[in-house]
């Protein structure tokens, strides 16, 4: 019974939403979607835009995949998912261009690269193709929020340290010396590394406490 994909599909489970925020956070815990996580987080606005765009694609593709899950034959499912995802990414790409060309320019090709973000295909394959539309939506929302939150964590640290600003507003003293490395690629690696360290540390401590 429990093996069956649609077994628990009838009810909505808010855990599907919560898990993406922390326990199964796509960036900090699952370490997925590293490319956008590192590449576009040199400022908060980029991080948020990227987070939202990814969430949008994630939600829409999860919805569509989940609602079509009985229709799509197993053999062609991956191809179909990619098709769906690529379409939504194209949509997101145009919408961002229409909203702000500056943001679009600073994100560059990374909007289009959402297509190959493993989180999206991963959720479609691992969750949406086996669960109800409602739960898939919750899952996508959770993952999206978790992803955006992670990007914000990185973007926030990097923009504040690297530029002394948050969302473009000066939050530190006017004489603050920016750590330019933080908005360089190296800083991206180091910030993510530091966050992962923190999560590792917290997890280790929790394990230790629960063992006692």
């Amino acid at each position: 019974m429990s093996n069956h994909p649609d077994a628990a599909a009838k009810t909505l489970d808010t855990n599907e939403f919560i898990k993406g925020l922390w326990k199964e956070n796509p960036v900090f815990i699952q370490v997925l979607g590293m490319c956008p996580t590192l590449a576009v987080t040199n400022s908060v606005i980029n991080a948020i835009t990227m987070g939202l765009a990814t969430s949008f694609v994630l939600i829409m593709s999860n919805l569509l995949v989940s609602s079509l899950r009985h229709v799509i034959p197993k053999q062609v499912r991956i191809a179909t998912y990619i098709l769906i995802i690529a379409s939504f990414v194209t949509v997101a790409d145009y919408v961002i261009q229409a909203v702000s060309l500056d943001v679009y320019k600073s994100l560059g090709a990374f909007i289009a690269l959402i297509v190959v973000n493993c989180i999206i295909l991963g959720r479609a394959e691992a969750f949406a193709s086996k669960n109800s539309v409602g739960n898939s939506l919750l899952d996508a929302l959770g993952m999206g929020v978790g992803f955006t939150f992670a990007l914000l964590c990185l973007g926030g640290v990097r923009e504040i340290m690297g530029n002394g600003t948050f969302l473009g507003y000066h939050v530190l003293s006017a004489h603050y010396q920016p750590w330019i490395i933080m908005i360089l690629p190296g800083g991206g690696f180091f910030t993510l590394g530091a966050w992962l360290l923190l999560f590792n540390y917290l997890r280790k401590r929790k394990e230790k406490i629960s063992m006692q």
């Binding site: 098709l83 690269l113 190959v116 295909l121 690629p185 690696f189 992962l196 280790k204």
Partner: protein
């Protein structure tokens, strides 16, 4: 095409703006395959190969879509065509050079969904490179990827034997090492300029 321009494209793609260390492209295989040197090297060559194939495809698609006035199909076509092309090439290699297939084969499907490959197509389109430039760009990107991967693999093999503190073990360490490597590659900035 003058040689200076081509060499700049190559140096730029391989060292200055290394796909992995400056653009964070292909981090997944970078972290996943850099555990042992032997696989890293083979993976590197497979990437160079796929990059050349997909760069050619992307150039063709882009020209075709320009003629058809359908730029909005670019992303979808890149994905689909590159994936199929790599698959075809894979079958071709399997048939005609089993040795090469054994060496590179298992990596090919892995690479197809790698963001570095798609990014290569997108970048070369955005930069408006000519066909030759595209190939040099692809070669540079592939070589750069390989260099980063191989250096990383060497360091990680060495670190396998180190007494790493518990908290640092795992991805965090690899990311930090990548950060230091990324810093060292800053030394190449301005080369060929």
């Amino acid at each position: 095409m003058d040689f200076d321009n081509l060499s700049f494209i190559f140096i730029n793609a391989s060292l200055i703006n290394n796909f992995v260390l400056a653009y964070f492209l292909g981090i997944c295989p970078f972290l996943g395959v850099s555990g042992s040197l032997a696989t890293a090297t083979r993976m590197g060559f497979a990437v160079i190969f796929v990059m050349l194939v997909s760069s050619t495809c992307a150039y063709g698609i882009h020209s075709l879509l320009l003629m058809l006035h359908a730029p909005y199909l670019e992303l979808i076509s890149f994905i689909v065509v590159i994936a199929s092309a790599v698959q075809l090439v894979e079958m071709f290699i399997k048939k005609f050079s089993p040795a090469l297939f054994r060496a590179l084969g298992i990596f090919l499907p892995l690479i197809t969904t790698n963001c570095a490959i798609l990014a290569l197509a997108l970048f070369q389109t955005a930069k408006g490179y000519s066909f030759i430039e595209c190939l040099v760009f692809a070669l540079g990107a592939g070589v750069g990827f390989t260099i980063a991967l191989v250096l990383m693999a060497g360091i990680r093999e060495k670190l396998d034997l180190a007494e790493i503190p518990d908290t640092v073990k795992g991805t965090a360490l690899a990311i930090m090492v990548a950060g230091i490597l990324s810093l060292t590659f800053m030394g190449f900035a301005g080369l060929g300029g």
